[in-house]
Symmetry: C2
Subunit: 413 residues, 2 copies
């Protein structure tokens, strides 16, 4: 059966739209429709990868892959395919069918037609397994593994599921549309061909109030009030050379025991967080952006923000830790069976929802690891959350057109 009656898939969705509408819509004309958030573009090429300090989009979908090849050339070829495709998708383009055929498998899957670019960013990261796996240096890269790309310690309370944790390669797609980020990861998965296998994937969303106020997480509290004083200083790496202008990302899939949380008094929720729920102000204060005042005491001499309050333990200065840039999303994936660890020991289905915690930093040893080692032990919030997956990935610097992400690593080796 011929597809002669259809507009064949063009090399870009922009072209497709133009053909379908009988209009030639040039790039300038599209950009002029400022009201159309689907039309906005984030640059892919540049000294840094996009999706790190990029203002946070409302939708995220990320995936981790295990490399299934022993050949260094195949890894390079994969990174080349990924880089080319990411640049193309980021600009609102579609995948090009192999050899220009409009019928062969491997063209675009089509579901993003008319939706993008919608501020799509695609960010790549390398897990420890790229450098050494089960003691084997598969690609001659072991000597180039950065000291900062540690094996994360087992933190107190960790309930990490192997199938949701780790991976040799990692891809984060963010945009203003859930189908667009799905589409991006789907293309990367397909382009992995036989060189890499999907290990885990996780979608998330960020719902920002229309008035521009700080978004809330599923516990109902504002999340993201505290940002590093100097974002660039906090996130960008200087050494080793191949990681210059890159960053390290820590991801944690954190299930919230929302049924338990919802049976907790507001005052105890606030004591646990160290902030007021609705205003977002530090406990006892009125303004969301007021300094925490961690040394304030009540009339009995007890700290107003408890020693175990989440906001105290998460504060970099109070931990002697470096700042981290949080860039997390909420997730919602139906239900799970649970047997509660608290009276009256209910069992049954609970909402499988919570936080897809994402943070970027220039050294996780001084950032997430230092903060979370303390937090995992003492945070009052721990009774309401369970970490079930995630990973640590080295995100190299950006690429200029013609390069591929991570090229400096392979040229060094």
């Amino acid at each position: 059966m011929s597809s002669a009656g259809d507009d064949p898939p063009r090399s870009s969705r922009r072209g497709l739209l133009a053909a379908a509408g009988g209009l030639v819509v040039a790039r300038g004309a599209r950009a002029a429709r400022g009201a159309d958030r689907g039309a906005k573009t984030e640059a892919f090429w540049g000294s840094h990868q996009a999706g790190i300090v990029t203002p946070q989009q409302s939708q995220c979908y990320m995936a981790a892959f295990d490399l299934a090849t022993d050949r260094r050339a195949e890894v390079i070829a994969l990174l080349r395919r990924w880089t080319r495709a990411a640049a193309r998708l980021t600009e609102g383009g579609a995948m090009v069918p192999p050899g220009g055929s409009t019928d062969a498998p491997g063209g675009d899957s089509g579901e993003a037609t008319g939706l993008g670019p919608a501020r799509l960013t695609i960010t790549f990261g390398f897990g420890a397994g790229l450098f050494i796996k089960d003691g084997t240096d598969r690609y001659g890269l072991a000597a180039l593994r950065p000291a900062a790309l540690v094996d994360l310690p087992r933190f107190n309370g960790d309930q990490l599921v192997a199938g949701r944790t780790g991976g040799d390669l990692w891809v984060q797609a963010c945009a203003e549309d859930p189908q667009l980020v799905f589409h991006a990861v789907r293309q990367m998965t397909r382009l992995a061909e036989d060189s890499a296998e999907l290990r885990w994937a996780q979608a998330g969303f960020l719902s920002a109030p229309g008035d521009g106020s700080t978004p809330r997480n599923l516990m109902g509290f504002k999340d993201g009030t505290q940002r590093p004083a100097d974002v660039n200083k906090a996130v960008w790496v200087r050494e080793p050379g191949w990681m210059r202008a890159g960053s390290y990302v820590v991801v944690r899939r954190i299930r919230m025991a929302l049924e338990h949380w919802d049976r907790t008094k507001l005052s105890f929720q606030e004591e646990t967080m160290g902030r007021h729920k609705y205003s977002g102000a530090p406990l006892g204060l009125r303004g969301e952006f007021e300094p925490l005042g961690l040394d304030r005491n009540d009339v009995d001499g007890n700290p107003i923000i408890a020693e175990g309050a989440h906001v105290r333990l998460g504060n970099a200065q109070a931990n002697g830790a470096a700042d981290i840039l949080r860039r997390g999303y909420s997730y919602n994936e139906g239900v799970n069976f649970t047997a509660e660890r608290w009276p009256p020991w209910r069992q049954g289905m609970e909402l499988d929802a919570g936080l897809l915690f994402v943070c970027y930093q220039n050294d996780p040893r001084a950032g997430f690891v230092r903060i979370f080692e303390k937090m995992a032990k003492f945070d009052m919030l721990n009774q309401y959350v369970t970490h079930t997956g995630g990973g640590l990935f080295a995100c190299p610097g950006g690429a200029v057109e013609g390069e591929f992400i991570g090229q400096a690593l392979f040229e060094r080796a």
Copy 2:
């Protein structure tokens, strides 16, 4: 620790916003902000439930519950709580803490603050288990079970997982924001108290191109081109009396084998669907909305739209079936292990994504069941999809203020 430094949770998010911003924003003033899609409201009270013929919102979250009580009065009390809360949330309000306390558990969970109403609708349905369960008439309603509320037959190829299927009660929340629909179902779950237990829940999204064209599903094809000629006639029930102005909903969680689909030639994808991928036109034609022309033959006398094409088998007229109103969403829930049923018999992780099929009709025996019995056997698309859950629910007519959803059923019994 007192929460004196915070704005306490008010009885409505509107109130909260007003307090936070130091403004009194009246309903009229909010409605005037037409550009703010968060401000748009769908009416809850009315002769029909909202969320059925309501223009489809971009986000959906639904849940099914098993009744855990033998007491009819508890079921009524639950439906009263749900109705009151749904009306309140739909208007952009928040949950009211019990007894007006601002500290006791049971107030609003807070994560929807500033997001709504965003066209929120909450729709309720009754499963067969409300009428009879394991042969027991728990609530004296068995005689009132409508003939149309059948036990769905086992369809060819069904791979339904018990934990994703059925339920005595069903709630569908739709809105323009993923956190808002999560919030709505979360409140209903909490209000179920000990009377009903969560059985399954499923989120979905619908990404509509900015140019108003028909949205695409994850197979990349337009989905929703065909609508009933007379929507009201297709969906609203007349008999029995307690179901007047109600409708029946069929839900199916349909996983798509996207990796397989993506290795299929475009021409075979189109033959399978019976439509062109990009234009959405019936095979061999140019316009999305042209009649299917199911009797068109090629020069060899073979039908242009194959006997097993999805669009032919899904067509009500071609099936002697009644029209159904499709109102489905795409879903994306990470990965699943699969062992493929086709060469080269790969095994590994696949994307757990597909279609949350939702359709409304006045009689599922003449609608979904008739269409799908044939489709489940002959649809060429079947090799790419697996039905893993869902259910059939009777959605009663709407309520006027002071009534509860389903009141006519309990008054009749």
